[in-house]
C-alpha cells in the first residue's frame, strides 16, 4: 500500500552526500548486479559477461555491417586523405594538404595504420569503428560510476545500437574519437566527484585535451567543467586546478607546435577567420529536427523523464551540463553539421538508462502528490478524490510489476535497433545529408575517372565536396565552381576558379562533373555548371545512377553523377 506523504522540492545533493546508487535498485534488477558478491567479482555474475558479449556483438555488428558498400563522403575523403598524406603517399600528397582546419589525432593515428596496411578506404572506417567500440566501453564506465554497474551496462547497450552513434562511428569523421575522449573525461570528473582524488582531475584534463586534439570544438567542454564546478561546489585545491590546467594546455599545444615545426603556423589563423565568417548552412532548428530521432525518441523521453522522476543530484548536474553546453553552443553557431552533437549521446544514454532501470524507485512515484502532478511545481489544484485514487492504483501496479521495467527496456532498445538497422543499409539515393553516411556511386565514379582519363587533367565540379571525393578515388585535380574567390568566404585549403571561362578556353579544365547531391544544395551553381557544359560543347562520357522509386511505384534510374568532356571553342 502506498502511503501518501508531502512532496518536497528536491534538495541539491553534493558529491559525497549522495546515497549509494545500489540502494535504489528494485528487486527485479538485483539479478543484474552482483551486489551480494565481492565487488570485484564480475566474473561470477552469470548474467554480466553474457550481457557484455551481447552488447559487444551488437555494437560491432551495427558498425561493420556492409561497411564498405558505399564510398567515402567528402569529409571522409578529406580526413583519410590527410592521413594518407601524413603517411607519405605521394599520390594523395598532391591533393590533400596535411594541415587543414582541424588537429590531427585521428589522421595521425590512421596514418600510422596506413604505414602497415597501405592506403585503403576500408581501413579508415575500421579504425573509426575501433574508436566507436571503445566509446561503448567508456559509456559503461561512466554509467557504472554514476549509478551502478547495471546502469553502466544499459548505457553501453543504448550507445551500442543508438542510430546517432552507430552511424557516425561508421564514417571516417573526427566526432567518434572526440566523443570517446569526451566520455572518458566526463567519467574522470565523475570519479573525482565520487572520490575526491585529484588524480582524476588530472586524468579528466588529459582526456579533454585528447578530445581537443581530435576536434578543436571540444574546447567548449572546458566551459562545461567550469559550469559544473560552479553549480556543484566541491573543495578544489588551487594546486590541482593549476596542474590540470597546465597539463591540459601542454597536451593541446601539440597542435600549434606541430604547425610551427612544419612551417604552417598561419594555417590555424586562416581557418579560424574562415569559420567565423562562414554563412549558415542550416536553419536554427536543424538540430531539433535531426538529433532527437538520431538519439532515439524513447531515449530522449526517458532522459527527460528523469528530471521529473528523480531527486536532482550532482550526477544530474554533471550530465545535463555536458548535454546543455554543446547543445546551446552548436545550436547558436551558424555552421551546423549532423554529427557535431555526437558528444551529448553518452550523457543522454546514461540518463535514459538510469530512468529505465530506476523509475520504479523514483521519489516522484513513491510519494504521490496530494493534489496531483501540478503540486510538484508549486501549483495547488483541486483534484477529484476518485481520480487521485485511480492514479494511485496505477502507480502501485507499475512500481510493483516485475516485468514492466524489462518490457520498457526492451521497447527502448528495439526502438533504437530498428532505425539503426534502417540507417546503416546502404541507401541508393540522389540526395544526401552530410554526416549520415557514404556517398552512393562516388567510389565508382572515381574509379572510372582514374581508369579512363589522362593523368594531369583538371576537373571542374559543382562544389568542393565532389572535388574531394574525385581526388581521393579518381586521383585527379578537381576544383569546385562554388568555391568563392573571396578569401573570407572560402575554406583556405580550396583553390577557387576565378574565371572558369578562361580556364576552359585555355584548356586548363578538361572535364566537368555534375552531381545531384551538390545540385540539391545549390541549384544556382548547378545551373551555372550546366551553362559551361553547353557553351564548351560538353560531351557526356560517363554517368553513375541510382535506382529510385518513382511516384507511380516504378523503379527508375536517376543519374547522380555525370562526367562531361569540354574543350575550347
Amino acid at each position: 500500500m502506498i502511503t501518501a506523504r508531502p512532496f518536497a522540492w528536491p534538495k541539491r545533493l553534493l558529491p559525497g552526500q549522495a546515497e549509494r546508487a545500489s540502494t535504489d535498485v528494485p528487486a527485479t534488477m538485483a539479478i543484474l548486479m552482483p551486489a551480494a558478491l565481492p565487488r570485484r567479482s564480475w566474473v561470477h555474475s552469470w548474467l554480466f559477461w553474457p550481457a557484455v558479449a551481447v552488447i559487444t556483438f551488437a555494437a560491432l555488428w551495427v558498425r561493420i555491417y556492409r561497411l564498405e558498400d558505399s564510398g567515402f563522403n567528402s569529409d571522409e575523403a578529406v580526413y583519410a586523405g590527410q592521413a594518407a598524406s601524413i603517411s607519405g603517399d605521394p599520390l594523395m600528397l598532391q591533393f590533400f594538404p596535411v594541415f587543414r582546419a582541424h588537429p590531427l589525432l585521428l589522421q595521425s593515428t590512421l596514418a600510422a595504420v596506413y604505414e602497415v596496411t597501405g592506403v585503403r578506404d576500408d581501413v579508415g572506417r575500421y579504425t573509426v569503428v575501433a574508436f566507436g567500440m571503445l566509446t561503448v566501453f567508456a559509456c559503461y564506465l561512466l554509467g557504472a560510476t554514476l549509478f551502478g554497474r547495471e546502469v553502466g551496462l544499459l548505457t553501453a547497450a543504448i550507445i551500442a545500437i543508438m542510430p546517432y552513434h552507430a552511424l557516425v562511428s561508421r564514417q571516417v569523421l573526427l566526432d567518434a574519437p572526440q566523443t570517446l575522449f569526451n566520455t572518458l573525461s566526463l567519467w574522470a570528473v565523475a570519479r573525482y566527484s565520487s572520490t575526491r582524488r585529484e588524480s582524476w582531475l588530472y586524468i579528466a584534463a588529459l582526456m579533454l585535451a585528447l578530445s581537443v586534439l581530435a576536434k578543436e570544438t571540444s574546447i567548449i567542454l572546458a566551459g562545461s567543467f567550469f559550469i559544473y564546478f560552479a553549480l556543484v561546489p566541491q573543495r578544489l585545491r588551487w594546486r590541482a586546478v593549476l596542474v590540470s590546467g597546465v597539463v591540459f594546455v601542454a597536451v593541446i599545444a601539440t597542435y600549434p607546435v606541430s604547425l610551427r615545426l612544419a612551417g604552417s603556423s598561419r594555417t590555424g589563423g586562416a581557418f579560424i577567420t574562415y569559420q567565423l565568417f562562414r554563412r549558415p548552412n542550416h536553419t536554427l532548428t536543424f538540430y531539433m529536427s535531426e538529433v532527437p530521432p538520431a538519439l532515439g525518441f524513447g531515449v530522449v523521453a526517458a532522459a527527460l523523464a528523469g528530471i521529473w522522476l528523480f531527486r536532482h543530484t550532482w550526477r544530474d548536474t554533471l550530465l545535463w551540463v555536458f548535454v546543455g553546453v554543446p547543445a546551446v553552443f552548436f545550436g547558436l553557431f551558424p555552421v551546423k553539421g549532423y554529427q557535431y552533437l555526437l558528444p551529448i549521446a553518452p550523457p543522454i544514454a546514461v540518463l535514459a538508462a538510469r530512468t529505465l532501470l530506476r523509475w520504479q524507485a523514483a521519489e516522484r512515484l513513491s510519494a504521490p502528490p496530494r493534489r496531483g502532478v501540478w503540486s510538484a511545481f508549486g501549483i495547488r489544484l483541486r483534484m477529484p478524490i476518485a481520480r487521485w485514487r485511480a492514479s494511485d492504483r496505477l502507480r502501485a501496479t507499475a512500481t510493483e510489476s516485475r516485468w514492466l521495467p524489462v518490457a520498457l527496456i526492451a521497447v527502448a532498445l528495439v526502438s533504437l535497433l530498428v532505425p539503426t538497422w534502417r540507417a546503416i543499409q546502404p541507401a541508393e539515393r540522389s540526395t544526401f545529408l552530410a554526416g549520415t553516411g557514404g556517398i552512393p556511386r562516388g567510389r565508382e565514379l572515381g574509379a572510372w575517372i582514374d581508369a579512363n582519363t589522362p593523368t594531369g587533367i583538371t576537373i571542374m565540379t559543382l562544389g568542393p565536396s565532389m572535388a574531394n571525393i574525385i581526388q581521393w578515388y579518381g586521383h585527379r585535380e578537381s576544383r569546385g565552381l562554388s568555391v568563392s574567390p573571396n578569401p573570407l568566404y572560402r575554406n583556405p585549403v580550396y583553390d577557387p576558379l576565378p574565371n572558369p571561362d578562361l580556364a576552359i578556353r585555355r584548356n586548363q579544365v578538361q572535364y566537368i562533373v555534375w552531381d545531384s547531391f551538390s545540385a540539391g544544395r545549390s541549384p544556382h551553381f548547378s545551373q551555372s555548371l550546366m551553362r559551361y557544359v553547353e557553351r564548351y560543347k560538353g560531351h557526356e562520357v560517363h554517368r553513375e545512377s541510382v535506382v529510385e522509386r518513382s511516384r507511380d511505384g516504378r523503379d527508375v534510374d536517376v543519374p547522380v553523377m555525370i562526367v562531361y568532356e569540354v574543350r575550347p571553342l
Binding site: 558529491p15 559525497g16 549509494r20 598524406s85 601524413i86 603517411s87 607519405g88 605521394p90 600528397l93 598532391q94 594538404p97 596535411v98 594541415f99 590531427l104 589525432l105 595521425s108 593515428t109 596514418a111 600510422a112 574522470a188 565520487s194 572520490t195 575526491r196 582524488r197 588524480s199 582524476w200 588530472y202 586524468i203 588529459l206 582526456m207 585535451a209 585528447l210 586534439l213 597536451v251 601539440t254 607546435v257 606541430s258 615545426l261 612544419a262 582519363t453 589522362p454 593523368t455 594531369g456 587533367i457 578556353r505 585555355r506 584548356n507 586548363q508 578538361q510 560543347k537 560531351h539 568532356e565 574543350r567 575550347p568
Partner: protein
C-alpha cells in the same frame, strides 16, 4: 506513302552516315599496318624557325656559342646576337624564296639581317628567339616526347611549295611559289595513294569554308580567307573539288573532335589551322593553346594508344637559323623548323637528329600503310621511325602542362606529425593509465573503499 518516302529520305543518310562511321572506325583499326600506329595526324603551323623556338633548348642543336650575325655581311662590323623576344609584338618577316637565298647568301648563312635591308627593318627581329617561359607547353612536350632538331622545310621558299611537298612530295608550281591558275592538275598526292589502297583519310581545316577554293580565293570577298587554299592544297585540285566522295573528306576541324569522341578517326589526317597558326604577328600562346586542345582531345580518346600526332611549320618565316640547309635538289631543303611528335610510342624526351623534311612524313605513311611513293623526294627521304620505340608498351595518357610553374612536391611532414602527436597522444594515455594504476595500488595498500561516504 509520301510520308514513308520522306522518312526514308531522312533516315537513309543518317543510317548511312552511322554505317559509314562504324565502317570508318572499323576500317582504321582493321587496316593492316607495319607499326602499332593506326592513326597518324600531321598539323601544319606557320612561320617559325627551329632556333627561333628551340635555340636555347638543352641538348638540341641550338645557338652556337658566341654567335653574332653581321648587320652587313659584305662590310662586316656591327653584328647582332640572338636576343629573347619575350612578349613583344612581332611583325611578319619576309619568307619568299628570294629572302631565303639572301639569307643563305651562297652558303655563308649570314644574311638574316641584311636580307631585310631593303625594307629597312630596324628591329633586326629575325634574330629574336623564344624561351621556355614563352613556350612552356612546347618545351614540356619536347621534354616528354620527341623534338626533331634536324627537320627542314622541303623547299627554300614559302607556303605553297612547302605545303605541296607536304602532300605531294613536289613543289606543285615549278615556276613560282604560288598556286597555278588552273590548279595543281594531276600531281598525285598521298591521299590518292591512300584512297587507292582503301586507307581512310581526312583533311581537317579550321574555320573551313568549302566555297573558297582555287577557283574563288582571289575574289575580293575571299581575300582574307584565301590562305585556306594555300594551306589546304587539296582545295586547289579540280579532281578533289569535283568528286563528291573526295570533297567530303575535306572537313571542318570540328570533325576531328567528334571523330575522336565517336571512334571514327581515320588512319591518316592532315590538319591546318586558321587564326591560331602562330603566323606572325599572331600570338604564339594562342597557337600553343590550339595545339594543346588537339593533343588533349587525342589523349582522352580511345585512339591515343594507337596514334601519332606531329606538328611542324610550313616555312621558317624569315627567322634566324644557324644550320645551313642541305641541298637536295633545285628546291630544297629550306631552313629547319620546329617539329614535335607525340605518341604513346614516342621516345621520352628524345631529341631526334635524323635529317628529315615534310616528305619524311609521307615516307612514314607509305611505310606504315604499304602505299607506293609519290616522287623521287619522298622515295629518298628518311623515315620517322627513329622517333618511336615500339619495343615498349604504349604509354598511358598524361596531360602535358602548359606552364613551367610546376609546384615542388608537397612535403608530408611525417616526422613532425608522428613525433608531436605520438607524444601528445601516448603520454596522456600512459599517464592516465599510470595514475589509475597508482590509485588502485594505493587503495589496496591502505584498504577500504574508494568512494567518499
Amino acid at each position: 506513302m509520301a510520308f514513308f518516302l520522306a522518312m526514308m529520305v531522312i533516315g537513309l543518310p543518317t543510317a548511312w552516315g552511322e554505317t559509314r562511321a562504324i565502317e570508318a572506325q572499323s576500317q582504321a583499326e582493321r587496316t593492316p599496318t607495319r607499326t602499332p600506329i593506326k592513326h597518324f595526324m600531321f598539323l601544319m603551323q606557320e612561320n617559325h624557325s627551329f632556333d627561333n623556338y628551340f635555340g636555347t633548348y638543352p641538348g638540341a642543336n641550338g645557338f652556337p656559342k658566341g654567335i653574332c650575325v653581321p648587320v652587313d655581311p659584305e662590310k662586316g662590323g656591327k653584328c647582332v646576337k640572338p636576343f629573347p623576344l619575350g612578349g613583344r609584338a612581332i611583325s611578319d618577316l619576309g619568307h619568299t624564296s628570294a629572302i631565303f637565298k639572301a639569307q643563305v647568301r651562297g652558303g655563308k648563312n649570314d644574311g638574316f639581317i641584311s636580307a631585310f635591308a631593303a625594307s629597312g627593318d630596324p628591329t633586326q627581329q629575325a634574330m629574336g628567339y623564344y624561351t621556355d617561359k614563352d613556350l612552356p607547353y612546347y618545351w614540356n612536350i619536347a621534354r616528354s616526347y620527341v623534338l626533331f632538331d634536324r627537320f627542314f622545310t622541303s623547299a627554300g621558299g614559302g607556303s605553297v611549295w612547302n605545303h605541296m611537298y607536304w602532300v605531294a612530295a613536289a613543289p606543285g608550281n615549278p615556276k613560282m611559289d604560288s598556286i597555278p591558275e588552273q590548279g595543281f592538275g594531276n600531281i598525285p598526292t598521298i591521299f590518292d595513294r591512300l584512297e587507292a589502297a582503301g586507307v581512310s583519310w581526312k583533311f581537317y581545316v579550321q574555320n573551313y569554308d568549302p566555297s573558297i577554293t582555287y577557283r574563288t580565293y582571289l575574289a575580293q570577298d575571299n581575300a582574307n580567307r584565301g590562305a585556306q587554299v594555300i594551306w589546304a592544297p587539296l582545295l586547289a585540285y579540280a579532281r578533289y573539288l569535283d568528286n563528291p566522295k573526295l570533297f567530303a573528306k575535306i572537313v571542318p576541324l570540328e570533325e576531328y573532335f567528334t571523330d575522336l569522341q565517336n571512334g571514327t578517326l581515320p588512319s591518316v589526317a592532315y590538319m591546318v589551322p586558321s587564326g591560331a597558326s602562330e603566323h606572325p604577328p599572331g600570338s604564339v600562346k594562342a597557337g600553343e593553346t590550339f595545339v594543346r586542345s588537339l593533343h588533349t582531345a587525342l589523349l582522352r580518346s580511345e585512339a591515343w594508344s594507337s596514334s601519332a600526332f606531329m606538328w611542324s611549320y610550313d616555312d621558317w618565316g624569315g627567322w634566324y637559323d644557324h644550320v645551313l640547309p642541305p641541298v637536295v635538289d633545285a628546291y630544297g631543303y629550306g631552313f629547319r623548323v620546329p617539329t614535335l611528335l607525340v605518341s604513346a610510342y614516342a621516345r621520352k624526351g628524345h631529341v631526334d637528329s635524323t635529317t628529315l623534311d615534310f616528305t619524311s612524313a609521307l615516307k612514314f605513311i607509305q611505310y606504315n600503310w604499304g602505299v607506293p611513293p609519290l616522287a623521287a623526294r619522298d622515295k629518298a627521304a628518311n623515315n620517322l621511325l627513329t622517333a618511336f620505340d615500339f619495343s615498349s608498351p604504349p604509354r598511358a595518357p598524361v596531360l602535358t602542362p602548359d606552364t613551367l610553374d610546376i609546384p615542388p612536391p608537397p612535403v608530408s611532414h611525417s616526422d613532425v606529425i608522428y613525433r608531436t602527436y605520438g607524444i601528445g597522444i601516448l603520454v596522456p594515455l600512459v599517464l592516465s593509465a599510470g595514475l589509475i594504476l597508482g590509485m588502485r595500488l594505493l587503495r589496496r595498500r591502505v584498504g577500504g573503499s574508494e568512494e567518499v561516504t
